[in-house]
Amino acid sequence: MITLENVTKIYEGNNVGLENASINIDAGDFVFLVGPSGAGKSTFIKLILKEIEPDSGSIWVGDYDVTNLSNREVPQLRRKIGMVFQDFRLLPKKTVFENVAFAMEILHKSRRSIRRRVPQILRLVGIEDKRDRYPMELSAGEQQRVAIARAIINNPKVLIADEPTGNLDPVTAEDIMQLLDEINMTGTTILMVTHARDIVDKMNKRVVAIENGHIVRDEFGQYGYSDSDFMDWGIFDNE
């Protein structure tokens, strides 16, 4: 589903984003992307979304040859990829219903299909009773559920979650992980960037570790970093 072949991205000032990275993520996989800050996780995701261009190598997402995609086709690509962020990124002046419906409006879906589909998805993520609330009136966990609903409403092949539990308490985080697992079981490929060791260990999925732009580990199971590693990297100071 997602394939990178010898992808290199060097930023200005010789900062390595990714160097000669190759990876293949099959359809239906659930993959954790771990590693210290600045290791290349964000670069990885930005490349997949074609927010930035690689210096060399090729990237495929489903049938899309991302590296050779014209700017005009980028929206098509992004509609196949659902995005969930640490800070939710909901539109504050729209209600829950409108936020989710918005993703369908962009695809010029009919009002009727929107009215039918949005409540279904809201029920699926467990916030059907909050449909007329505004994001600011919701708890963090509920907001993330809205974001997930928005990300999956158009049945994307891939769901990319960038630290989706970063702003959540452990119990809520676990609920969200369960939701993502359910979505994965319907066949959606999930790529999740995270620093949450307990979650990765508990889920027991494929773990890809990036350091200094290199994929240093790719195996099933454990998070593989200790908390003291992160102290050294200083990520808790930054984030």
């Binding site: 979304l49 929206p75 098509q76 909901l90 993703a103 962009i106 928005r150």
Partner: protein, 296 residues
């Protein structure tokens, strides 16, 4: 259709939130259009004047004194016909002259009814084949005591044509400059609303909205600013011009024997021009302002 309403609603909200800059845009575009309107008005009237005059441009008119006898008139007619370069000679009574003038003035012709006594003289029209012949006719006319004055239009028409051409070039240059200024002002106004909604735009892009979908409300905002400015400009131009026509229209007509273009004709033309420009400037301004945001 609902999409259009959504865009218009969004645009109005944005204009409302950004009153200062929106007002600046309105002023800039309106000022530019009023200047354009001024030049347009001048050029249209110069054109009309030269059209009116052109109809006689190969004719030398000899105005006769009121006390000229029939014999004298016949003598001038026969002698003028013999001059070289003269193609035809005819006599026009003051009544015919008034009737012709009325026809030429068209819808402003009623103004002549208020003249009372016909002030126009009887005249002899001498058609000539060129400036040289016209000169000969004029020289001949000075020797005749029955002729009050001579009128020959060719040079005037040439001069007017030249003035019109210069005017048009000047207007084009000034307009180009003003249009660029307006586009910059509008694009800056819209850039503010784009900045205010940068986060929203980035979310829309992540979800896979096309650039045109995102542009929609901003495009409508620009076009609305343009359209509103153009309507204001049309209204101001009409009020000023109608007043000008009312106050100096008649005087100008007796002085130059040419009417001013009617206010309604001018306004309908200005409406089309201003609206087209307003829409164009607004659309360009908003597209330029969003270019950076949508490229990435």
């Amino acid at each position: 259709m609902s999409r259009l309403f959504y865009n218009i609603k969004q645009a109005l909200t944005q204009i409302g939130r950004n009153k200062g800059m929106s007002l600046a845009s309105f002023f800039a575009i309106t000022a530019m259009m009023l200047i354009l309107g001024l030049f347009f008005t001048i050029s249209v009237n110069v054109n009309l004047f030269s059209e009116v005059v052109k109809q006689d441009y190969d004719t030398v008119e000899l105005y006769l004194k009121d006390n000229v006898t029939a014999d004298q008139t016949t003598k001038i007619l026969t002698e003028a016909r013999k001059l070289s370069g003269v193609t035809s000679v005819s006599y026009r009574t003051k009544e015919q002259a008034l009737k012709i003038m009325k026809e030429r003035w068209g819808e402003s012709g009623y103004l002549l009814d208020s003249l009372g006594d016909n002030p126009l003289p009887n005249s002899i029209l001498v058609k000539v084949d060129g400036v040289k012949a016209a000169d000969r006719v004029s020289r001949y006319a000075t020797t005749q005591s029955g002729i009050e004055s001579t009128k020959y239009y060719k040079e005037t028409v040439d001069k007017l044509n030249r003035i019109t051409r210069y005017l048009q070039i000047g207007i084009t240059v000034i307009m180009l400059f003003l249009v660029i200024v307006s586009v910059v002002v509008v694009s800056n106004t819209i850039k503010l609303t784009v900045f205010a909604r940068a986060k929203e735009i980035s979310i829309m892009k992540y979800i896979g909205a096309t650039n045109w979908f995102i542009r929609g409300p901003f495009l409508v905002e620009g076009i609305l600013i343009g359209v509103i400015s153009s309507l204001i400009s049309v209204a101001i131009s009409y009020m000023i011009y109608a007043r000008v026509v009312a106050s100096i229209g008649t005087r100008l007509m007796t002085m130059l024997s040419s009417p001013l273009v009617s206010a309604s004709y001018l306004t309908s033309n200005l409406t089309i021009i201003f609206l087209a420009m307003g829409v164009g400037i607004g659309a360009c301004g908003s597209i330029i302002s969003m270019r950076k945001f949508l490229d990435a």
